[in-house]
């Protein structure tokens, strides 16, 4: 029971990071982006390549930072991947979404995002092969916190949780303390009014893609550290991160954080009552529950 709760919190840490970017995009560009989860796999695979490059160029960084299985080169790779994934998100918007947005209606964007998800997912599969990949071949040993009840934690998981919380705190400071944060929230509230007040809409949209892509990259790597990398990981992550945004309320960053943890914990706690085969359905049940009790989520507000 406590073990499931703990695992849920750890799952929640990467779901939250994924959901923050998704909720921002959904709020400001006003469409459900089904290709957001593919940014997680893109980021994870970019980090895999960068890790190999960095540790090849600077072997002294390829040493494990005990007790973690994480290496210095992977940390640098994560930073590079954040930038590259953010830029890829921007590029996809420029090349595809912007044109669809100008030609069609809001729902065309949803179709286009599904199409992009199919393309990105399968191109990754073609490049990296369909079998799983790992950042580290070594077995990460778990630390026994308690024997009765048996509670196990891997040092890597603790690192993931702390790093995720730190990133969220930085984002909180940016959103609440900087002019940029204010302009972002202004655009979300009312794009036309924000523009009248001198906020550059194009630049804000670019920033949203960069932030969303960057956080997605970290989320993808953390998923890879906790489990493994597979080209279809986006397919398995898309519903949980959507559930996180709905639970938290579309557009609310803090809602997305809380929603991510709720979805993660619910998914793991469900193992107590349901056979593990049903885990993929849990996010959907949560969505239904939220729509029945509180349709706009915990922190969301009604908006047409």
């Amino acid at each position: 029971m406590i073990q499931h709760l703990l695992d849920g919190v750890l799952t929640g840490s990467y779901l939250s990071l994924g959901a923050i970017g998704l909720t921002l995009v959904m709020h400001i560009l006003r469409f459900a982006n089904f290709s957001h989860a593919e940014l997680l796999s893109l980021g994870a695979y970019i980090a895999l390549v960068c890790d190999a490059l960095v540790s090849g160029l600077t072997p002294f960084l390829a040493v494990k930072l005990a007790p973690l299985s994480l290496t210095g080169s992977l940390i640098i790779a994560i930073l590079i991947s954040m930038v590259l994934t953010g830029l890829s998100a921007l590029l996809i918007d420029r090349l595809i979404f912007k044109r669809v947005r100008e030609k069609g209606q809001e729902l065309s964007m949803v179709f286009a995002s599904f199409g992009m998800a199919l393309i990105i997912r399968n191109v990754i599969g073609l490049i990296f092969g369909l079998s799983p990949a790992l950042y580290s071949r070594d077995i990460a040993f778990a630390v026994i916190l308690s024997r009765d009840p048996l509670i196990l934690v891997k040092p890597d998981q603790v690192f993931v949780l702390i790093a995720a919380l730190a990133l969220m705190f930085i984002l909180h400071l940016i959103l609440s303390r900087t002019t940029f944060g204010y302009s972002l929230r202004a655009v979300a509230e009312n794009p036309s009014l924000a523009q009248v007040n001198g906020v550059n809409l194009q630049r804000t949209i670019m920033a949203v893609w960069l932030i969303g892509g960057g956080l997605a990259a970290v989320a993808g790597v953390f998923y890879g550290i906790s489990h493994q990398l597979i080209p279809v990981m986006g397919r398995d992550l898309v519903l949980p991160i959507f559930a996180a945004t709905i639970v938290g309320g579309i557009g609310s960053v803090y809602g997305a954080v809380l929603g991510g943890f709720i979805v993660g914990i619910a998914g793991n706690m469900a193992l107590v009552v349901l056979p593990s085969g049903y885990t993929p359905s849990v996010p959907f049940l949560l969505i239904l529950l939220v729509l029945m009790i509180r349709p706009h989520g915990l922190f969301g507000e009604a908006r047409a």
């Binding site: 959904m26 469409f31 459900a32 089904f34 595809i96 044109r99 669809v100 030609k103 069609g104 209606q105 809001e106 729902l107 065309s108 949803v110 179709f111 286009a112 599904f114 199409g115 992009m116 998800a117 199919l118 393309i119 997912r121 399968n122 191109v123 599969g125 073609l126 369909l130 397919r235 898309v238 519903l239 959507f242 559930a243 709905i246 579309i250 056979p275 085969g277 049903y278 993929p280 359905s281 996010p283 959907f284 049940l285 969505i287 239904l288 729509l291 029945m292 349709p295 706009h296 908006r303 047409a304």
Partner: protein, 322 residues
């Protein structure tokens, strides 16, 4: 020669069944502007419902009701409609993202349930023990397939005529009014949420009909038949054919199904053995590119919607596109 002919019958039967499904989606997306991200769940509900209701008794899972076939098919359609009603009731009042996400979730949960719940529908092994109607009289060979194709074609024509009349009726006008401007429709005393729900359920019942026919054709359905792939294929058919145009929907179904079959055949025939494993990925990239490409360069599809402007006292005028 008979081999080619019987393959063409097989191809046309599958394409016609898919065309019925595309017509159902067209009512939702083309005419009403509702995004259905879980087409396959409603299709699957029809298939599973029909086979469970019409099949013989099976040890280990639900079934064996042995209903008269048309009743079983109606039951499958009702199952799809019921599912749509529940999802629609919860989401159609909210902004349209919610419907997209919830329907996508339905498809994930449906496949997941069918794969795991052995007591319900045989789990991963699928639903067995269904006997195709009139098999005793017509056998299993070419004659039966020809007969089945004719039946499917008649149902396709009937569905097409029903939908053509529906969209030309005042109800159809109301659907377009809500799609174009919900506030305006509301100001005229219409209830958009209710009308949307009716359109969503009707479209899903048609999807269920297609699923029921599909299940009947193979006399078997398993979780492999309800993978998200089918949703993407049916969308591509509608987007390519032309959302809002029923003839476009049918044209798109035959075109995309032909392209899908041909690309699968070509990849398995000409691709080297060591990349055969990746033919699925290549096909997915193709279908994704078709969807994105159409939306970028010709969002109205090959046969665009024809908007009819009716004015009192004047003959009807037609104009192209939006």
């Amino acid at each position: 020669m008979i081999g080619v002919f019987s393959y063409l019958i097989f191809f046309a039967t599958t394409a016609s069944i898919l065309a019925i499904a595309v017509l159902g989606l067209n009512l939702q997306w083309g005419n009403t502007g509702l995004f259905n991200g879980g087409v396959v769940a409603f299709f699957g509900a029809g298939a599973y419902g029909t086979l469970i209701l019409g099949g013989t008794a099976q040890a280990g899972h639900l079934g064996g009701f042995g209903l008269f076939y048309p009743l079983a098919l109606l039951g499958g359609m009702a199952a799809a409609g019921l599912m749509a009603w529940v999802v629609g009731l919860l989401t159609l009042r909210l902004r349209h993202d919610y419907l997209a996400i919830a329907t996508f979730g339905v498809a994930v949960a449906f496949e997941n349930l069918m794969r795991n719940a052995e007591w319900l529908a045989g789990g991963a092994k699928g639903v067995r023990g269904f006997e195709r109607p009139l098999r005793a009289a017509l056998g299993d060979g070419f004659i039966y397939n020809l007969f089945f194709f004719v039946v499917v074609l008649l149902i396709l024509i009937a569905t097409y005529m029903f939908l053509e009349r529906l969209v030309a009726s005042p109800f159809g006008r109301l659907l377009r009014a809500i799609r174009e401007d919900e506030e305006a429709a509301r100001s005229l005393g219409k209830n958009p949420a209710r009308i949307r729900l009716m359109a969503f359920v009707t479209g899903s019942v048609i999807l269920g009909l297609a699923g029921g026919l599909y299940g009947t054709f193979y006399a078997f359905v398993s979780p492999q038949d309800v993978l998200p792939t089918l949703t993407f294929q049916i969308w591509a058919m509608l987007i390519v054919g032309g959302a809002g145009n029923n003839r476009g929907a049918i044209f798109g179904a035959f075109l995309i199904w032909g392209a899908w079959t041909l690309s699968g055949w070509a990849l398995s025939r000409f691709a080297p053995v060591d990349v055969q494993l990746y033919t699925g990925s290549v096909q997915f990239i193709l279908i994704g590119s078709v969807i994105v490409g159409m939306l970028m360069w010709r969002p109205q599809g090959f046969l665009p919607e024809r908007l009819v402007v009716s004015q009192r006292g004047k003959p009807q005028q037609t104009q192209q596109g939006e």
